[in-house]
């Protein structure tokens, strides 16, 4: 452009307008490119997974290597078991930690704990698997459901803690003051008044954390390990959907690939169900407050 920057010409104005419109177009294309992979993934999950889901998939055990048929019944039950164990480990620590951050502690110390929680949130999931391997697999000389549950549970802690703190802070100060003025002990004020008021928000945080760990594979590789049988003994290896999907995806058998897609579809449906629950819960919360 030859125009002087001090004397806007019609030509320059047109060029500037054109550039602005062009970049608006670029931004739209970028936004579409970002959400496109979601639709591709969902499309292929449905296209390849749905046709492979049948009754056997939910009721049968995996067949031996190379044989056609079988299902992932044990992996589905295993995933649910591991999630429950993770919740037992991670939820109490997370909620009590959140209570401390919201109700006690100095601003400065709490600032550090928040910072640490956000950093801990960024610890790669495979690292959790390695650490729990050393702590719970090596000493007991066996891979176990316990080890897998603890690995997933510890991963939940930072997230549950931060969301619990956030919803507890939203509880009006006057609730606490009113209860304290009646002579109620502080711990009862917290548990009976504050936590109960914020219960829905806390539950939301817990489910968000569960949805995040439900698909984790790396921390289970050397803790829960996976197996092809029914397992009711938590001291022994247990299967999980992500483990089974991984094992089948990298196998050379077409029938296992088919089942990997089916497993992925079921896992995705489970995670979506958890996310929808979160949405319903938080919609209610917005309405009542």
């Amino acid at each position: 452009m030859s125009a002087s920057p001090y004397l806007p010409t019609a030509e320059l104005a047109n060029w500037r307008k054109f550039k602005s419109h062009a970049i608006t177009g670029v931004l739209v294309v970028c936004a579409l490119a970002v959400i496109a992979p979601l639709f591709f993934v969902i499309y292929f999950l449905l296209a390849r997974g749905a046709s492979s889901i049948d009754w056997n998939f939910f009721t049968q055990l995996p067949k031996p290597t190379g044989e056609v048929g079988g299902g992932m019944a044990n992996a589905i039950v295993g995933t649910v078991t591991l999630l429950a164990m993770a919740a037992v480990v991670g939820v109490p620590i997370g909620i009590f930690g959140g209570i401390y951050l919201a109700e006690y502690g100095s601003d400065r110390a709490n600032g550090w704990i928040r910072f640490a929680a956000d950093v801990l949130n960024g610890v790669p999931s495979i690292v959790w698997g390695m650490v729990i391997y050393l702590v719970l697999v090596v000493p007991f000389k066996t891979y176990s459901a316990y080890a897998g549950g603890v690995a997933l549970g510890l991963m939940m802690v930072p997230l549950v803690m931060r969301t619990t703190e956030e919803v507890l802070i939203l509880v009006p100060q006057s609730y606490r003051e009113a209860a304290l003025a009646l002579g109620v002990a502080r711990w009862k004020v917290i548990m009976v008044i504050v936590v109960r008021t914020a219960l829905k928000g806390i539950a939301t945080g817990v489910i968000v954390a569960m949805a995040r760990i439900a698909g984790e594979t790396a921390p289970l590789l050397f803790t829960a390990l996976g197996n092809n049988f029914w397992n009711t003994n938590l001291k022994e290896p247990i299967s999980a959907l992500p483990l089974q999907i991984y094992a089948y995806a990298i196998s050379p058998y077409d029938d296992w690939h088919r089942q990997a897609w089916a497993g992925a579809l079921v896992l995705m449906a489970l995670i979506l169900a958890l996310n929808i629950t979160v949405r319903v819960l938080s919609r209610d919360r917005q309405r009542t407050h």
Partner: protein, 319 residues
């Protein structure tokens, strides 16, 4: 709200011990966060002590990885982790920031919500499902179309030379980019929303076009925070395990070509942990984990500090 009857919450006069016990339980739970970070670091150090004693710091730049000869070096994996993460950032940061700009500055409310929801759903897709999709959908397409096209037009660059297998550094970069896009987009959106409207109004008042407003008033104001978002994305990219393991080709080589297979710190652990037969092999894998942990913690801490200084209201919670 809560209609708890007062009869059962009246305290026994003078009894403060349950109160103190409760506070300590809560304090312990909060302290667990710090304990866990220290514990994870110490355990990994303990697990890798033999390798640290045997190889010293040379472990970090030795390129040999030969379990049979018991020679172990981390460089191919550090290289693979950094390069795949860098590729992911090169793709994800421009796309993520552009999408955040679109969502905060341009999109009508009606279409904003569905796009935000789609991005949240993308974040919920597990790594192993991206890996499955990568193996059976993305890799074949890259191998038969994009890579061929890149080689045809840009093949004179060393980056795009060599045979095309499909599984490659570039495939890993692309899949990690998809996986970190949600976090980069959502943090960027937070940052852009914190830009005062006064900035925009002032620029419009001077006669700026929409793009000039975004560039002069919004982007330059938010620069530091957007950088923080990118660093946070880097922290995520470094630790990505399953999807990367499934598409990168798992070969401990340092190659100039992006079409060549590679290996990362996280994926070598995932792959070889179960087959590590000797103590020194095992310890070397733990040392790789330790390297990964240290880098991930530093990167995440840096991102938190940057984002905190941008928003001034404590670290942004990352879901």
């Amino acid at each position: 709200m809560s209609t708890a009857s007062t009869t059962h919450v009246v305290p026994a006069p003078g009894s403060r011990s349950p109160d103190i016990a409760f506070k300590w339980v809560a304090a312990f739970a909060a302290a667990m966060i710090v304990i866990l970070i220290v514990f994870v670091g110490l355990e990994l150090y303990w697990g890798s002590r033999l390798a640290i004693a045997k190889f010293g710091v040379g472990f970090l730049w030795s390129t040999e990885w030969d379990p049979v000869q018991e020679k172990f070096g981390a460089l191919p994996f550090i290289f693979g982790t950094l390069l795949s993460s860098l590729l992911a950032l090169l793709i994800a940061v421009p796309l993520g920031v552009a999408t955040a700009l679109f969502l905060t500055e341009l999109a009508p409310l009606r279409i904003r919500q569905p796009i935000v929801m789609a991005i949240e759903m993308l974040a919920a897709v597990p790594s192993v499902i991206f890996g499955l999709w990568g193996i059976f959908v993305l890799i074949p397409w890259l191998r038969d179309h994009l890579f061929v096209w890149l080689k045809h037009w840009l093949g004179f660059l060393p980056l795009f030379k060599g045979p095309i297998y499909g599984t490659s550094m570039l495939a890993a970069g692309i899949i990690v980019a998809i996986m970190i896009l949600p976090i980069i987009t959502s943090i960027s959106r937070e940052i852009l929303r914190s830009v005062p409207n006064l900035q925009r109004e002032a620029a419009y008042a001077l006669g700026a076009t929409r793009w000039e407003v975004l560039r002069i008033a919004v982007l330059s104001y938010a620069r530091r925070g957007l950088f923080g978002a990118a660093v946070l994305g880097l922290g995520r990219a470094l630790g990505e395990t399953m999807a990367v393991t499934m598409v990168i080709g798992n070969r401990p080589e340092i190659a100039a070509s992006l079409f060549a297979p590679g290996y990362t710190l996280a994926s070598v652990v995932a792959n070889e942990f179960a087959e590590a037969t000797t103590d020194i092999y095992f310890n070397s894998l733990f040392e790789l984990g330790l390297v990964l942990l240290v880098v991930a913690i530093l990167v995440n801490a840096a991102a938190q500090v940057m984002l905190k200084s941008m928003t001034g209201s404590g670290p942004i919670k990352v879901v």
